[in-house]
């Protein structure tokens, strides 16, 4: 949130509404629509930090435009007012100059748009990336097949059955994490390790409730074992820099570090859904 621009926008809006309440400024409904549209546009463009991508602002403003159009036409009075204001603007000689300006201005704006589009230096295409691409049904891990749909973390059950044994796995997971993962995913698992700034995409933040808490443990196993090189095509254009840990870690170590990740961030894996 950028306080200053938001505050300015709110102040301007309050000023407008006070002025029109006291009849100092007479604004018809169309003018209000324009003011609201601009206020929302500026709030979205400058009020949020880090700035929103242009594509998303475009989408939001599109929805806002729809809503404003709906509002304008809900009341017949407002609609007629808007219509007559529009007609008046065109036929009333008083507005001849602004009308000419608009007539010249509209083509100029669109010409400028075309010009700036054509003269832009070449840019990489806008890209989207699938954060959680679908896993394959099974993977081969050191010659053994891991079924990503049916298999479970073999040590998960120990949490209730044998807490002491479970603690050992957590400890082993801690060791694995701080020997291997911490450099990128960070010491509090927020994805801000010492190497993190060099990557695009940045390392996953396990504290974010929309990452590991949404996934089953086998998904994590797949991601850890196969790393960036094992990502399917949907995850392009940039593949993650995560190594394929199957070359360095044993199966047990991977399950342990998964357990540790959930324990450390105090989250629960997505349970395997009970089939009806």
């Amino acid at each position: 949130m950028n306080i200053v621009p938001v505050a300015i926008i709110v102040l301007v809006m309050v000023a407008f509404s006070q002025l029109s309440k006291r009849n100092i400024l007479r604004l018809n409904v169309v003018a209000w629509m324009v003011i609201w549209w601009l206020a929302i546009y500026f709030a979205l463009s400058y009020g949020i930090n880090p700035p929103l991508p242009a594509s998303i602002i475009g989408m939001f403003m599109f929805i806002v435009s729809l809503a404003l159009a709906a509002y304008l036409t809900t009341s017949t009075d407002d609609m007629e007012a808007a219509k007559s204001a529009f007609v008046n603007f065109i036929i009333n000689p008083r507005y001849a100059l602004p009308l000419i300006l608009v007539m010249i201005g509209l083509p100029v704006v669109s010409a400028y748009n075309v010009y700036s589009d054509m003269t832009q230096p070449p840019q990489p295409p806008l890209s989207t990336r699938t954060i959680h691409p679908p896993p394959p049904p099974s993977i081969t891990f050191k010659g053994k097949t891991i079924d990503l749909i049916e298999d479970e973390n073999p040590y998960r059950a120990l949490k209730t059955d044998n807490p002491a044994e479970f603690a050992k796995h957590v400890e082993n997971g801690r060791r694995v994490y701080f020997q291997n993962c911490v450099y990128c995913h960070g010491d509090n698992m927020a994805g801000r390790g010492i190497f993190a700034h060099g990557f695009d995409p940045i390392p996953a933040n396990f504290r974010d409730p929309t990452t590991i808490a949404m996934l089953q443990e086998t998904y994590l196993f797949w991601r850890i074992a196969k790393g960036g090189p094992g990502l399917p095509a949907e995850a392009t254009p940039w593949l993650s820099a995560m190594p394929a840990w199957e070359k360095f870690l044993s199966e047990e170590e991977i399950w342990d570090v998964i357990i540790f990740m959930y324990e450390f961030t105090n989250q629960e894996p997505r349970a395997k859904e009970e089939l009806h």
């Binding site: 095509a233 949907e234 360095f248």
Partner: protein, 266 residues
């Protein structure tokens, strides 16, 4: 009538609007994964094409066979001469033998050293080898194999060893000589004595290079070349056998330690 027209236009406009929304989201075509398994009804042309892909790609054949005056015989004319290599052995049988059991017959003037094509790390399956044979027959001759052809080695290769997923032995327990063998270093380098092949002998490499240089020459073979040797060969071969995909840092250490200890004659 006017109403019907307005409704008609309204319907088209609304539909166009949703069509437009559909164009605004990221557009991506998803293709089905490429088939690893080879169909049984491939045409000869398709077999040749696939064979060429294997020979130039995961078969790593060109690392040794592709160099003029190289260590192994050129394949340029193999389709024309394969039938006459061993008396009484058909073209297909000969080519099959030289792929499944390459060191049984050695062309005059050459040294043994080619790995078995159906075993790790190349791990071609029977069908892939048939395609390779088709490709080889096409070099100066005309292919006679089909996907149904059987020869005395049919069935030797594991059913689904292919697909590039090399079932490397539990690599971390290998010792130095085993690693050297696993990754086909011996194809180009001698270890048991001086004498150069495609690459310089490793017999006394420990005298010439320190550990850092060994790491470099393994990880980036073309960075520093020994004088008189072609660049690119070792990189291509190691890529082909999947060295960079599979080797662990522990293995690297074992390998470098082993190589550094090769001081000639010890």
């Amino acid at each position: 009538m006017k109403n019907a027209l307005t409704i008609f236009i309204f319907t088209i406009l609304t539909t166009l609007f949703y069509w437009y929304v559909g164009q605004q989201v990221p557009q991506k075509v998803t293709y089905p994964p490429k088939k690893l398994e080879l169909r049984d009804d491939l045409t000869t042309d398709e077999m040749i094409e696939i064979g060429a892909e294997i020979v130039n790609g995961k078969g790593t054949c060109q690392s040794c066979h592709g160099l003029p005056g190289g260590r192994f015989p050129s394949l340029d004319n193999v389709g024309a001469i394969a039938a006459s290599r061993i008396e009484g052995m058909s073209e297909v049988e000969y080519l099959a033998e030289s792929l499944y059991d390459p060191n049984k017959f050695i062309v005059d003037g050459y040294l043994p050293g080619m790995p078995q094509a159906h075993k790790a790390p190349i791990s071609l399956n029977d069908k892939e080898i048939l395609c390779v044979i088709a490709y080889l027959q096409n070099q100066g001759g005309s292919p006679t194999v089909s996907m149904q052809t059987s020869h005395s080695f049919t069935g030797t290769a594991p059913e689904d060893a292919g697909g590039g997923q090399v079932a490397a032995a539990p690599a971390s327990n290998l010792d130095g000589p085993a690693i050297v063998e696993t990754y086909l270093c011996l194809t180009c380098h001698k270890v048991d004595g001086p004498g150069d092949m495609v690459g310089p002998s490793l017999y006394d490499v420990g005298n010439r290079m320190d550990k850092a240089a060994l790491y470099e020459s393994l990880l980036d073979p073309d960075a520093t070349l020994t004088e008189g040797y072609a660049g690119g060969v070792m990189k291509a071969t190691l890529d082909g056998v999947g060295f960079y995909d599979k080797v662990s840092s522990k293995e690297m250490k074992t390998l470098v330690d082993y190589l550094a200890s090769m001081k000639g004659g010890n």
